[in-house]
Symmetry: C2
Subunit: 120 residues, 2 copies
């Protein structure tokens, strides 16, 4: 399931809370993204057509919910980058960030902890 960048902003709102009516989604995004109402309507529609969100009737309007789970999307995106840039291996990715001083002290500590808790 391909989700464009702009579309993912709409998904983000729904992942955080749902179901939501269109006007709630619009309210959440118009400010944050400086988008016009029409823009958000279009994105919602594209997501509907892609089957990334579901709409259930609620009286005269619809309530929207994500069908595509955030986890699945994050996985696909992450794996895509990992495969394209690091030959599918995680260590080189981390090494890359390390070499570019992109690891905060917290990151290092968290990584250390993660590794320790891993299977052999």
């Amino acid at each position: 399931m391909q989700i464009s960048d702009a579309e993912s902003k709409v998904m983000a709102v729904l992942w955080q809370r749902h179901p939501l009516a269109a006007d709630e989604i619009i309210a959440a995004l118009a400010a944050a993204q400086d988008w016009q109402e029409g823009t958000i309507k279009t994105l919602l529609n594209r997501l509907l057509n892609k089957g990334a969100v579901a709409a259930t009737r609620d009286g005269r309007r619809y309530l929207y919910s994500p069908l595509l789970a955030r986890e699945a999307w994050v996985s696909a995106e992450s794996r895509g980058l990992l495969d394209r840039l690091f030959d599918g291996r995680v260590a080189p990715l981390v090494a890359h960030f390390s070499q570019h001083r992109a690891l905060s002290r917290d990151d290092v500590a968290a990584l250390r902890k993660l590794i320790e808790e891993m299977d052999p």
Copy 2:
């Protein structure tokens, strides 16, 4: 510097070896990507216009070299994903892969080594 997916395949060839003449690039990609000659010419041209590759005259033709370094591109792409999906922190990214059993034994070993070699 924005490089599209298809364009990055052309860059990949040049990152591996350069300078190269167009026909060498075409030879390297036509098979691997199942692209027609025309397609590769277009991509090369777009990269030239974007300033991602340089062309120096060599008799009747040009030899192409990357101007955009692979490292810079990898950094930009990686950081982009990290920021968009993991709030800019590396540990959650690794945790994600870990949770999805996307870490090979080698990965874990390499990570362990990396972490050990890091500053406290």
